[in-house]
């Protein structure tokens, strides 16, 4: 039994997103203030108009005071949430439910993370399950285990699969090159990515998401109130979340070629939204491309490709900017880095731009016919992860 869902009961009326990069000259406070200022301006509201706040940050602060202090909120509820790399989406999920419940008229979700301040990798406070002898296994190494298992299961030549993975990174770099908010803004071809220094297994440095600071924010109201604020709101079609129980670490039936938590979250989200054929109903998807094998198998877990065929669809350009189902049109984690609290909202920001026809012309896609977008996060590792799937649309039934 999944969620009953809150389809078409909540609308997004304003969003903001800072550039994602090394913000050595900006604090967590600055990034939160910048994201909120853009979101409130876009919605035509002021900070005191917002009745309740949810703050997503993994490691840049604790408690709602992290947000209440810089925004100078007075007498307002602020809840800080953390859910691994789905932290930003989790803040939004809670804000949407709060409005749907009738408890608040206007709520905001803010995600912010200063990753660079805490050192190079930035995510090292997340506990990595281990047997006492493998403590330096990196996130890249954990996800690199997927590639040989996938190649073996589906009979793909590993050297061919390696180039497919590089093509995924190359596609995301090409999209990010057109995005002034992205951290990396250069196109990278497959050969160049394959020549980069090796990190783990098949993966080079450029198969991995960058590390960046950033903030993003969304303001939500009841769907029936949306047109008081904007002519083109986005409606919440589905909010789905799964926390895995870690059995994949113990269970040899888990084969490292898919992420069941993501399959479950997607299935629940499609049921809520009434989607039966995501490949043909969605205009676009923003997925959690922390490493290139992740994006590969997500195309299958999210139902965009048949099992064992995502690599062919990637090669055929299905997920390219002007492919049948564009994926990560803003450049993805690959181009943006991954400030954990902000990423989910950054993904929604791209849907906000694309579905409303406001994306810059050089990366604008045609969303008129479909009008639905998906955002996805995962956090953790193969065998033990959390996953979020959200679906957003321009129309309301």
């Amino acid at each position: 039994m999944g969620s009953h869902g809150i389809k078409d009961r909540v609308a997004i009326i304003g969003m903001g997103c800072t550039p994602f990069r090394e913000h050595w000259d900006r604090s967590t406070d600055d990034l939160a203030i910048d994201a909120v200022a853009e979101a409130t301006a876009s919605a035509g509201v002021s900070v005191p108009d917002i009745d309740a706040w949810w703050l997503g940050t993994a490691q840049s602060g604790m408690s709602g005071i992290t947000l209440a202090a810089p925004l100078k909120l007075e007498g307002k509820p602020v809840t800080r949430v953390e859910n691994y790399c789905a932290t930003g989406s989790e803040a939004l999920r809670q804000a949407c439910y709060a409005v749907a419940s009738g408890a608040y008229d206007v709520a905001a979700a803010v995600g912010v993370e200063k990753v660079k301040d805490s050192g190079y990798q930035g995510l090292n406070a997340f506990p990595i399950p281990n047997d006492g002898t493998n403590r330096t296994l990196t996130a890249a190494a954990m996800f690199s285990l997927v590639a040989p298992a996938y190649a073996e299961k589906y009979g793909v030549d590993p050297t061919e699969l390696r180039r497919t993975l590089a093509r995924i990174a190359s596609k995301n770099h090409a999209n990010g090159a057109h995005n002034p908010r992205a951290q990396f803004r250069r196109e990278m071809d497959v050969d160049a990515i394959c020549r980069m220094p090796e990190v783990a297994g098949m993966l080079s440095v450029f198969d991995c998401a960058g590390v960046a600071d950033g903030g993003a924010a969304a303001i939500v109201v009841r769907a029936e109130d949306a047109h008081r604020y904007t002519d083109s709101p986005l409606y919440v079609k589905a909010l789905s979340f799964v926390a895995g129980n870690g059995s994949g670490l113990l269970d040899p039936d888990y084969d490292y070629t898919h992420f069941p938590e993501c399959e479950w979250a997607a299935r629940d989200a499609y049921a809520q939204a009434g989607i039966t054929d995501p490949r043909r109903e969605l205009a676009m998807a923003e997925v959690h491309d922390c490493f290139t094998p992740t994006e590969l198998v997500l195309m299958e877990d999210l139902g965009f490709s048949e099992r064992g065929h995502a690599w062919e669809d990637c090669e055929a350009g299905v997920f390219d900017l002007h492919g049948d189902l564009p994926v990560n049109t803003d450049g993805g984690l690959k181009s943006f880095g991954h400030p954990v609290g902000a990423s989910g909202l950054r993904m929604l920001f791209e849907c906000w731009l694309q579905l409303r026809g406001e994306a810059p012309e050089d990366r604008r896609i045609d969303t008129a016919a479909r009008g639905l977008a998906l955002t996805h996060n995962l956090g953790g590792y193969p065998g033990e992860m959390v996953s979020f799937v959200g679906i957003w649309g321009t129309g309301r039934e």
Binding site: N130, D131, G132, T133, N134, R135, T136, L137, T138, A140, A141, S144, L145, V146, P148, A149, E152, P197, E198, V199, A200, G201, S247, L250, D251, P252, Y254, D255, Y256
Partner: protein, 148 residues
């Protein structure tokens, strides 16, 4: 000179260096499921009271990677990269473990055997050992040679 495990409770350290080490695992007294590392409560049937058993020392490689960062960070600065695999033990568990060999030495499905390697010497002059799996065909071939 004695050999001591880097951490107690994960593998045996036989007195005879020629003898293969075993993994210290558990077997559920109710459903028979095996686990590594050791646990008290069965993860499958929740029976409280798993028995201590020794697992391995062989296994089969399910998937693997080769990590280009120094092993154990500053504890072994000579190592610039190392293999890690998911190794299926004959008793059932799939174990994540370090591998012996270079990036071209591994293939899914190959038979692996458990091995101990000296990481460093402690203040009492003991050899501090870690466990690794090596490709079975190469077992013994690396003795005395420099390991990647």
């Amino acid at each position: 000179m004695a050999r001591v495990a880097i951490e107690e409770g994960y593998f045996t350290v036989p007195d005879d260096p020629a003898e293969a080490p075993r993994l210290l695992g558990s077997r559920c007294g109710a459903c028979g499921e095996h686990f590594f590392p050791r646990r008290q409560v069965c993860a499958r049937c929740l029976h409280d009271g798993c028995d201590d058993v020794e697992l391995g020392p062989t296994g089969r490689l399910w998937t693997w990677t080769y990590v280009h960062v120094p092993l154990f960070a500053k504890k072994n600065a000579k190592v610039s990269a190392y293999g890690v695999g998911q190794v299926d033990l004959p008793e059932g568990p799939r174990v994540q473990a370090l591998l012996v060999g270079g990036p071209d030495d591994f293939e899914i499905g190959m038979e692996m055997v458990l091995d101990l390697e000296t990481l460093r010497t402690d203040d009492d002059g003991n050899d501090v050992v870690i466990m690794r799996f090596s490709p079975h065909r190469a077992a013994g071939a690396h003795e005395g040679g420099e390991r990647p």
